[in-house]
Symmetry: C2
Subunit: 335 residues, 2 copies
């Protein structure tokens, strides 16, 4: 992705491995502060996933793969390392997929450094392909809506939901993107708007509750990411996604989710079985260190919601755009 | 309404007139700071409406009536005062209704002080009746959802959407209220949660985007306020209302708006003709004085949205609960 640091636009990934260190952009500080953090221990990487220094299902997967690599360099028990990483966040499927991939690579005698880097590169490749397959869905002059951050920051590079927009832009298409701010952590306002600004793609931030208003005024396509996709095409994504899906159906707006196959959990038959992470209520009641809610009031803070397959027009993957009812076909193809 | 000031719970209105002064709770400072402000000039009242020291359609109406009263005491041109007040905010119908009522009262030789106080008292009476008529809709043990603040702060006392809850609580019914925080200005988190806390009604604050998630988990009734209701039952209310209405329809949750008849604009045939106020984009990009959005990113900030009548189960008014298609009947009744 393009990131302007100290006035200079440069190409950069959200995280990478270099000479014994995992280096990542501290996404909690964006957009105001650009800072790289460096880890040499698996436990530090696990903490960075839990505290959301790195976030977004595919990027969490890559961080976990790098975490397993650091564990092999530390010489600690890999089973323990795997358990520690898997315990960080419950919803994103990529986390489990990446840790198991690394365990399998080590078990089969592969070089852990090569395996982890290959995993990261494969995610980037998949996102690039998601961009290629999704691009034709964006007509020239399109008005697009997205939610949360399913961009390069969430996926190492390119993004999932944002990848088709990057490719469309590269092909000379014009577009305008409504970025819903995505309370409580405001990843839409802080991260997606930041990516679009850095890429020069026209956009406007809106309150989450304004999505329906603007959808009715005219949106050509909605593209969001996914944290876990069940075998029937139901999927979990950032809280607020389900609302947009229902509104899109009501208003006839095509609604797509974009994700690599690593986000599919074929062991889960439908979305009701996807665990939904409840996070700290202070994410709602305190904004940027300032208590907003009355003292004594409580909040509920589910981090994700589940969108049933009937609201999904298509799933943009690295093997093409599929219908929710074709997920089973993909499972059989992969087996 | 009950408000606890310095540890003591006391009965108070959101604004009132006393000995030449309009006194109001500065709602911009709640919930952290409780402060009363006092005005002796119509222009000060107009400014307090514009800057949202006072907000909520019925309370804006009462403030405007008091503003007209101050204008008569100042001896300034009443036509000019009326224009100044009407230019403060475009969506709430009560504003225009109240100013015109005061002009008519003065024209017909009534005492302006008595007329303004009578207008305020009549709004309070209407809200009390809205509470009485709406209370039977709340079953004992109900899970309720509301949006923004349609409480006593918005209506001088009792509230519109919150009035049935106050009456139900007084009758001994148990309930639990989901309060959607209502970005960008967070009136749900700051004001509705504050009112419910002061009244001892159990509740939890949620992000606006979590409404669908919790509605699917189980909500018995949604009650919101209204800023303007058209002759066909379409209505404008705080941005995010339309989304809840669509979700409620999809999930079979009864969806009510509560408002006095002064909120009805019988001159407007349907909701597409209701003017929607666009407010400053900094309400979205800056939270409590802190810039959240990346420098250089823009936001769009419509303050209201319009909910078509087909999503509305009923309108709770001071003359009873009516169906959206009965608004025309009310018009004929009043003529």
């Amino acid at each position: 992705m393009k990131i302007t640091v100290a006035g200079r636009s440069q190409e950069m990934r959200a995280l990478w491995y270099e000479a014994g260190e995992v280096i990542m952009i501290d996404q909690r500080l964006l957009p105001n502060t650009f800072k790289l953090v460096r880890f040499t221990k698996c436990s530090e990487v696990a903490a960075s996933i839990k505290d959301m220094t790195v976030r977004g299902a595919p990027a969490i997967g890559v961080a976990a793969a790098y975490g397993m690599l650091l564990a092999t360099r530390e010489g600690i028990d890999l089973g323990g390392a795997a358990s520690m990483l898997k315990a960080t966040r419950p919803t994103a499927h990529d986390l489990f997929f990446a840790v198991d991939s690394m365990l399998e690579a080590v078990r089969s005698g592969k070089d852990p450094e090569k395996a982890a880097i290959a995993y990261a590169d494969s995610i980037v490749d998949k996102c690039r392909l998601i961009g290629e397959y999704g691009e034709p869905l964006i007509k020239d002059g399109a008005t697009i809506m997205t939610h949360c951050n399913a961009g390069a920051l969430a996926t190492v590079d390119y993004g999932t939901a944002l990848a088709p927009m990057r490719v469309a832009r590269n092909k000379g298409k014009k577009m305008f993107v409504y970025v819903s701010e995505t309370r409580p952590r405001l990843q839409g306002m802080k991260l997606t708007a930041y990516e679009l600004l850095n890429e020069g793609i026209p956009h406007a931030i809106i309150s989450d509750g304004a999505s329906g208003h603007f959808m009715r005024k005219g949106v050509d396509i909605i593209i969001v990411g996914a944290d876990r996709i069940a075998a029937n095409g139901d999927f979990a994504n950032k809280i607020g996604t389900y609302e947009k899906a229902v509104l899109a159906k009501e208003l006839g707006v095509p609604f797509y989710t974009a994700a690599p196959i690593s986000t599919f959990d074929f062991t889960i038959e439908d979305g009701t079985q996807i665990p939904i992470e409840d996070r700290n209520e202070e994410e709602v009641t305190v904004i940027d260190g300032h208590r907003i809610a009355p003292k004594g009031c409580r909040a509920l803070n589910p981090s994700f919601d589940m969108t049933p397959n009937r609201y999904v027009t298509g799933i943009i993957t690295e093997i093409g755009v599929i219908r929710p009812n074709e997920v089973g076909k993909v499972r059989r193809m992969l087996q």
